[in-house]
Subunit: 641 residues, 2 copies
């Protein structure tokens, strides 16, 4: 086995600072474009008015143009009569005011008579006249350097006689995807189940393309380069000629086929290989032909994060832009995040405001969890030399989502069901601007979050051992003296998910022999509580079940493990078995409810949730999904604690 | 004179609410586009994964694939030897894990020996294996409806097998400019001084075009329609056929040539003509062929504001979007804003943070002051039935600028000089992200703002009557016991600006006879103090000067008034006379300094200002402008108070 060693594992800040300092030749370019095409671009230099605006003395109101000296002496007691042609001319907004006329009286201040208009107050020179240059003076600076042009600037520039301007040229960012196992989406998309095993759809280059555009650059994607140093060198030399900077993805790691660092060093210079951030360690910062060349890791989350941390600052160099800090908020973590001492760790979080406090729920931390990026509202950075942050501790979060959207978020923490996605979809589409943000931690952890006022709703299906009832007994135990409410949800079919045709002929718990591979749910999940209840009833210890330690976080993950033969059986809800065309053995018909505080019921977010929950559209959707009944849906039960 | 009466002067909210309710047929359309072209667009419906990702069990780390059952019993005391082909295979990140291999051990945890690897701990099934569907499960909802697609979503959609999606169609917004006096920029741009007198360059349609795009629509601009009901009707019928909604601009007012309301009523329906906002009163909300048709006023500020308040909500109807509130902050007003009881008034403000408090400096309020829109960081709304807000009172400001930019703003309130524009330009271009925001209220008002901690710097050139010295005496009087500092600025030539060739042969104050038209500066301006000082010395009362009441707010405005023959003479600085190629008679060589508090000197914003002020580039710029000397520039003088 021959692997690269990381040249020098540097800390992020030092690595970036040294790199930027080494890029002396990286300077913004400029181009001259029509003002009408300039919105979103940055001015390359200050822009000065060529013309004054208005360019002549003009009437500012609808009314009459008068000679101000003719209006002297007018008063309520002795109104003055003005005659057309002698004392005044009719004038509308925008009309020229020419000598001897020098002022305007508004239509509203005129008394119409047969001989002309009467006025009851004198006026003075330039009254209601827009004097030449009142808005813009020729020679005046209209926009400074480095100003991002908006629609409103366009009209002012044109009014000032400026038809073309110098803007900062967009840097051309070359993107070179690499890897023998990669295939393009177009090649892969023939298959109904995705690419053939062992092949990966190359999607990062499309993300980079979008990020380059979002950050003001022009993207140039190259074809996928196989794992060959010669071919990578060719591609890199070409891209360095054609682009202002180049991204290589991936091959930046220390694997046997990771050639990027060698190739860059052989035809250029490597300043950094490896930085102490997680995810994102295998970053290469180098130069080829004096162009910045950056090698980024392949996992989607690492790729995104390192692009933002290293490629964007280099792009900003081409764009005359200072480093953007991005908006930050303080938030309370809903669960403990452990972190290694050696790395600065970036944790994606979902955000919402509960009881006036910003709440951050950590998302899946794997570098490959690209869905966590889609769902993230921001991320917090756990510094090096910290072991992590305890649950309910405060963290600083860099925002990815708009603060106004975060305030319109119904926070839902607890048990998972695919109906949560459906409810979110229905809330977002109703013009309300509201959304539902759910984090799946299991029923019990959801109730703890509600206890700590860290969630609006806690979806729960906790079987209370003694009487076979759901939820109420647990709530009474956990919330003594508090006003807790159960919003009745659905009854759902819970059972064993098995392969199509049930090849192992599983009919009950007794059929899950040690040869049968089980896939379990995480601790605290109601489904796991149910499975443990069944095991206990039969007197079977967990250790006797093959795969008891193998955990999945959602019903869908259980179903896909069975579908793809990572397990033979798992416990989950009927709708997920059906969604993946699997067989299902009924075990229980359980109550999946939403627990909340009585005081939250009046919140617009909760009201909107209730409206959607009880809507005919949602009931129709439940039928489509299958495995649900909804006799009591939306009913409010005050729990006597 | 025949003028329209406003049909019904409605309040903004009611007018908009009724209008939106009447637009039942306005529904979002959808179109199917490639995912790679979808960033910035909104999903028309929820998007579900077609494929799982990863699509096979894959190696999550560089290392070896092992059979987990073969690793049992390994410990530090008794390391276990694994043999290639029997117990393990080499595996890098992304490689397939095929039975019987079911787990991965990281390279870091291996001890290399000649026979194979030693391990000191056992592993378990699926350790460091990315199980199929770990990131995305086929059938799972990837994005809800109404989600604005970002670069990161693109790669996830592709990984989930989704190559095309339904997005909300961009509404096509027709824009019809009208008016006999209007000419296009292209027609006008031949003239060096702008369009010929009486003609106005039509720029609003270009602003609307930009605003339509910024708000997610597709703009279709039509040619300028003259003031003819027949031609307007033709244009409107065509646009209603070709577009989803139509903007007419202007002709929405009550002037003699304002036909829009009649035309819309004759071929459609008018719901509202006139709303109680200022600026922006003459708004028409109507329908033609069931398409929304909106008439907007012609003044740039009114046009912008009414577009945002009426056209954007209608566009949002087509875009499946809820009403966006926009971000708001509380701020302290630097000066009193009076407002009529009959209107809701929108006041543009510049913002900055001084001593931890958000400060709002009101900008010029005229509907024609389009530069005030360019300069505005936000606007506050003075409600109906309010007489206004007193200086130092708190207002709510709707933001137009990013909060992070506002925090990086050096607030400068006081006397005007064009070097302030130059200093701002130099601060913005230096990658610092900082800017200088100046409000021109005259020296004295600037010092009052500093006194109240509403500005970082107060540029001042106050002549202290008795000894002919500048600034220090006034500061001692105003700031007893406070630590005030004078940052020495420039000495500048102040004098009479007259026409090229000085046709009236003005050499001193004595030549400004009652026949000579003077243009004055506003009260509190240092230049006016100087003029009054000269008048007093000669024993001339202000009333004896023709045009003494005629006020301009900046040196450039004085110069343009002389240039364009609205006045014969005014007092101002040499650089402005020179910029407009006018003649100049020296009167004084005055000291233009920056007053600040000692405690502000260490602020990064003030430090950056000092750096720019003392830079060779700025000194070079002063030479180019002319009329300045800078012997003491940047020197710090502690004023003993």
């Amino acid at each position: 086995m021959k692997r690269n060693l990381y040249l020098n594992m540097q800390d992020r800040e030092t690595a970036l600072k040294n790199y930027l300092e080494s890029l002396e030749n990286v300077k913004p370019g400029r181009e001259n474009i029509p003002v009408t095409e300039s919105p979103g671009r940055l001015t390359a230099e200050a822009v000065f008015a060529r013309w004054s605006s208005p360019s002549y003395n003009s009437c500012a109101m609808d009314g009459i143009a008068v000679i101000s000296s003719h209006t002297k002496g007018a008063s309520e007691n002795s109104p003055l009569l003005l005659r057309e042609g002698e004392d005044y001319l009719e004038a509308d907004t925008g009309d020229r005011i020419l000598p001897p006329y020098d002022a305007v009286i508004m239509a509203e201040d005129l008394i119409e008579t047969e001989e002309g208009y009467q006025i009851i107050a004198p006026t003075h020179p330039f009254a209601h006249v827009r004097a030449v240059g009142e808005d813009i003076v020729a020679g005046e600076m209209v926009l400074p350097s480095c100003h991002e042009i908006r629609a409103v600037d366009v009209s002012v520039l044109l009014a000032a006689g400026v038809g073309r301007i110098d803007v900062v040229r967009k840097p051309v960012v070359g993107i070179i995807p690499t890897g023998d196992e990669m295939i393009s989406f177009e090649e892969a998309s023939g298959g109904a189940d995705g690419p053939e095993d062992g092949r990966i759809v190359e999607t990062n280059s499309r993300m980079f393309e979008g990020l380059v555009r979002e950050n003001g650059g022009e993207a140039r994607r190259y074809g996928i380069v196989p794992d060959s140093p010669e071919l990578l060198e060719q591609a890199l030399l070409r891209a360095a000629d054609e682009c202002d900077m180049v991204i290589i993805n991936a091959g930046s790691s220390a694997g046997r086929d990771d050639y990027a660092v060698h190739v860059i060093r052989s035809i250029g210079e490597v300043l950094t290989h490896g930085v102490d951030i997680k995810p994102g360690k295998p970053v290469i910062l180098g130069k080829v032909k004096e162009r910045p060349v950056i090698g980024l890791p392949g996992y989607p989350v690492s790729a995104w994060l390192t692009f933002m941390e290293f490629a964007v600052p280099v792009m900003n160099r081409f764009l005359l832009r200072g480093e953007k800090q991005g908006e930050r908020v303080r938030a309370k973590l809903t669960k403990t995040v452990m972190s290694g001492l050696k790395y600065e760790e970036y944790v994606r979080v979902k955000l919402g405001v509960v009881d006036g406090e910003m709440i951050a729920a950590p998302l899946s931390r794997g570098a490959g969890a690209s869905m966590s990026l889609v769902k993230a509202d921001g991320f917090c950075v756990i510094p090096k030399n910290s072991e992590g942050v305890m649950a309910h501790g405060e963290v600083e979060v860099r925002l990815l989502e708009k603060p106004e959207q975060i305030e319109k978020t119904l926070v839902v923490i607890g048990s998972h069901d695919i109906i949560l996605d459906v409810l979110n979809d229905m809330m977002t589409e109703e013009h309300s601007g509201m959304r539902l943000s759910s984090t799946h931690v299991g029923s019990m952890s959801g109730l703890i979050a509600l206890k700590r006022r860290e969630t609006h709703l806690a979806p729960s299906h906790l079987l209370c051992g003694e009487d076979g009832s759901y939820n109420e007994a647990v709530i009474r135990q956990m919330f003594p003296g508090e006003n807790i409410v159960l919003i009745k949800g659905v009854r759902r079919r819970q059972g064993f998910i098995v392969k199509k045709g049930n090849p192992l002929n599983i009919r009950s718990l007794a059929d899950i022999t040690p040869e049968v591979r089980y896939i379990n749910r995480q601790k605290g999940a109601g489904t796991r509580v149910l499975f443990d209840y069944l095991l206990k009833k039969e007197g079977i210890p967990g250790t006797a079940v093959c795969g008891y330690e193998n955990e999945a976080a959602t019903h869908m993950s259980v179903a896909v493990a069975v579908k793809k033969d990572n397990a033979d059986v798992g416990m989950g809800i009927y709708s997920c078995a059906r969604a993946l065309d699997l067989d299902f053995i009924d075990v229980a018909f359980e109550e999946y409810d939403f627990v909340t505080r009585a005081e939250y019921l009046d919140l617009p977010l909760v009201q909107e949730f209730l409206r959607v929950l009880k809507s005919p559209q949602f009931l129709r959707k439940l039928e489509e999904l299958g495995g649900y009944t909804a006799e009591e849906i939306g009913e409010i039960r005050y729990v006597i604690t």
